[in-house]
Amino acid sequence: MNARFDVLVVGAGPAGIAAAVRASESGTRVGLVDDNPTPGGQIWRRGAPQPASARGWLTRLEASGVQRLQGWRVFDAPQPGLLVAERSGAGDSECAELHFEKLVLATGARERFLPFPGWTLPNVMGAGGLDALVRGGLPITGKRVLVAGTGPLLLAVAAELVERGADVAGLCEQADLRQLIPLGLELFRHPGKLLQGVRLRRASRKAQVLTGCWPVEAKGRNKLEAVVVQREARRWEIACDYLACGFHLVPNLELPMLLGCRIENGFVGIDDAQQTSVADIYCAGEPTGIGGVESALLEGEIAGLGAAGRQREARRLSRKRPAMQRFVRALERSCALNPELRKLPHEDTFVCRCEDVPLRALREHHSWREAKLLTRCGMGPCQGRICGAATTFLFGWEPDSVRPPLLPARIASLRACGAAVELAQHNKETR
């Protein structure tokens, strides 16, 4: 497949949908490429009642002229103005060349996972991870679940699990109350978020919330049976079927980095118009700072309008950004990890779960690259997407480069992509 767009948007979460809809409604030819079977990203994932804003945007997307490419994974950016993507599922894989004039990166975020003894056991999942599985058809009614980690996602997941009839054994938030108060105060400036927080807490009321508390061990033979949690000097065991555990979110920066976008303090650097350091490439949503749906929608709208050449309207919307950014900073501080969590993994705990590399093997190394080369940490199929965030926290290591393919891709796709690039170069030379 070969397609050309005025504006190509990567990621069909709230930011990507808002960008695609605004750009398309401005009369440009828009493509929206996303790796999931349906649009909505993680937060508007199907299988649960959608908030009104989600329904509104999804309806607008449906009515727009946006060409939707669901189930496609972008794996390379072989030359300016071109991304290549692969679709593989039940049948044969396909490869697509996506040409663009302007690009909007709305690649979202993933959960941060920290290694602790037993975290590789089946039924130990991310908080968003378990939520996604449940929305994807995993029955949870009557199951006992412990929710743990850090960040507002935990409350949202606990509320949804309670509503679905799960027995939520507790919600362990690693931050202590003192660390959470400034975020609570900031919420009063955002009535919508405050209301949502109150609603979620009410929905999850059956679950006991423990602050300054985290899991130290997951126990079980072939799957999870119990979790040992710690709060100050006290440790105790909680029997459960599932542990839903994530330590806030980290941005998906692989594609922005491959494209050469400047990274500032761990996020994609942008200006007031959502422009990255690379001409004609915009970025919106979580990759610019973890701010949630409202902020993602605003940034997506600004980016979509800007990419479609409606700078004046983009600038007008841009005035709402400072308030959102204040919330982003308050949220970040409230989720800052307690240094004690560095002691969670034991010497034999696997840090890299693709290649089963234990903490012991990593201790003697000084950088992410050295550890990769000598232990295979981060060299498995996930390409360090899980253990990279953990080793950043544990050792302060930062990824030094991103190379294609961004994800494991089929030989046929790589060959098709290579042929496409050769053809484009040939055409350019003979023009």
Binding site: N36, G89, A90, G136, G137, N222, E355, P408
Partner: protein, 80 residues
């Protein structure tokens, strides 16, 4: 009531609701998704196509991310 979908997981028939992901179906069948390089049983972690713990063989194609693929009638899923 929508019709259920019938698929095959490791040789056993399983019926699921439309919209069910292959990852959820594998868990529903009580299976692990894969065995790690040192022999540990593994099951989905992230649920969003990042961690690759959920990879299975679908219709003879290995390494499919089951959390991002919906069940289809007659699908043949193999865990490892």
């Amino acid at each position: 009531m929508p019709e259920t979908i019938s698929l095959n997981i490791d040789g056993e028939e399983l019926r699921v609701e439309p919209g069910t992901t292959v990852a959820a179906a594998v868990l529903l069948a009580g299976s692990r998704t894969r065995t790690s390089v040192t022999g540990e049983p593994r099951a989905p972690l992230c649920g969003m196509g990042i961690c690759y713990e959920c990879r299975v063989t679908i219709n003879s194609i290995p390494h499919q991310k089951s959390c991002q693929i919906l069940c289809e009638p007659g699908m043949d899923v193999r865990t490892a």
